[in-house]
């Protein structure tokens, strides 16, 4: 990893980003960077602005000032769909699979962005190699999958787009502990085997610590600490995130 002023340019960079909903400001000058091939955790309490940060990056929400660059290009000029085609994919909170469509149709929606059906089929085969359960259930209505399978579908759907950066918003939400274990393996595999850089928003700090290289802690729209994952995810940080900022260390 390139720590602290390495030579590689970040693939994703936010500089002094402000954003909010209507007249309610949520982010107050966020700066963060993700290097190619890196897993970065974005941690914080509910309402700290984690999902808002992801929504700004993927252009679901326009920022009011500051800059967001992906691969050196300003994202403000792109539509969310264009950004996806450029290689940045956002797996939203709650997974948001297309419940009424079959598993295979869910995956092939991504095929709309590809030039040919053959290319889409090839990627479909690659994704079902990665997640065999999706191949086995290809004809099943996606809404009938278990939570863990739906999470695999949500990540598999993103992988159909062969992204360079994936934004993962609370992937462990609502999953059984055993399923979270395999989710951690999946995230690590995406990163090491496919070289995907990941910005991970997660409440499950054990999961975040296990997979992430670096981390940022967000508190009411401001980044309050950053560093290597095991430095950021300390007892102090945990109490801050779960008990609120003002209590300080236990």
């Amino acid at each position: 990893m390139n720590q602290g002023g390495g030579t590689a340019a970040p693939i994703l960079e936010l500089q002094d980003v402000y954003a909010g909903y209507g007249r309610v400001p949520v982010l107050h000058g966020i700066s963060l960077a993700v290097q190619p091939g890196e897993i970065v955790a974005l941690l914080g309490a509910n309402g700290a602005g984690k999902s808002t940060t992801l929504r700004v990056i993927s252009r679901l929400l326009a920022h009011t000032s500051g800059s967001v660059t992906f691969d050196g290009a300003d994202v403000a000029r792109l539509t969310p769909a264009a950004l996806v085609r450029a290689g940045l994919v956002h797996v939203p909170e709650g997974r948001r699979i297309f419940a009424g469509l079959t598993v295979e149709e869910n995956l092939l929606v991504a095929g709309y962005t590809l030039a040919s059906t053959r290319k889409a089929r090839k990627r479909l085969a690659a994704v079902t190699d990665l997640f065999p359960i999706l191949g086995a259930r290809h004809n099943q209505t996606a809404g009938l999958l278990s939570g863990g399978e739906q999470q695999q579908l949500a990540i598999g759907r993103a992988m159909m787009l062969e992204p360079r950066v994936v934004l993962l918003d609370e992937p462990s939400l609502g999953l059984a502990p055993l399923v979270v274990e395999s989710l951690a393996d999946t995230i690590t595999a995406l990163n090491t085997d496919r070289g995907v850089a990941i910005l991970l928003v997660e409440q499950d700090l054990a999961l975040a610590e296990r997979v992430a290289h670096r981390g940022y802690v967000l508190e009411t729209g401001t980044i309050v600490s950053e560093g290597l994952a095991d430095e950021v995810i300390t007892d102090e940080a945990i109490s801050q995130i779960y008990l609120g900022a003002d209590r300080g260390a236990p």
């Binding site: 996806v84 297309f98 149709e105 787009l161």
Partner: protein, 304 residues
Amino acid sequence: MTNFAQQVVSGVMAGSLYALLALAFVLVYRASGVINFSQGEMAMVTTYLAWVASQHMPYALAIVVMLAGSFVLGCLVFRVVISRFEGRSELQTFVAVIMLFLIFDSIGLALFGPDPREFKEPFRGHPLHVAGITIPIHDLYILASALVIVVGLYVLFQRTRLGLALRATATDRVAAELMGVPTQRMLTVGWGLAGAAGGMAGVLIAPVVTLTPGLMSAVLVAAVCALIIGGLESPGGAIIGGVLVGVIQNLVSTYLSGIVDFLHLPLEVTDANAYRDIATALVLLVVLLIRPAGLFGRSAVAKV
């Protein structure tokens, strides 16, 4: 009994027209959550387009011109007006739709006047007689056209990449956008397809009732009824709803005097059509009261 069968068959024919317009409503509703009450008036305008075109070219070509024109009109209505109301309240969007209704209604009147125009039946010939039931050639044409459109839309939605992207957008617009689907374009296409389906209904009914700016008023009421019966989001429901309304209407106007006699109602049956529309409206009210989500719908009719 033969008369009963005859009325049911004729009702199915009329019902397939209602089904087409109701299908247009479903396409728009599923794409953007709007009930486009101006759909019928848009179809009226494009039916005049077909009528003008048919003076200069063969009928089939005039239909192609009409389909293209009504697709484009649907796209424009969404792009120029409806998309700007995104995120606004349902009441504001509803008012916008009603204003569109008035605008298209006035355009028809301004350009072509109130006088009825004769829109000739494209196929003429002796009616078919099957088991004592008479089926006019134009009715067969209506049924066949409706079937072609329904099957064509089904194939488009279920068997093509565009159709999959349209369905994904209708299911969850944000998730579709995050998968790289240009959802704004998908909504536009949905409105365009609805315009074409509605336009076809206009061209099919015109030879039956003659072409006036009020062409679609009766069809509109019946189609909205079919839409509510079928549930706002179900294409199959819209089709079955349309056929049901057609059959109910025909049976009511046929047996009206019998019903009035049977109930000893102090009514004089002079205009069966008026009673037919009352019957349609009553069916609609009863369905709304008993099953507000429609017979095939999942969501309640909260948007009306």
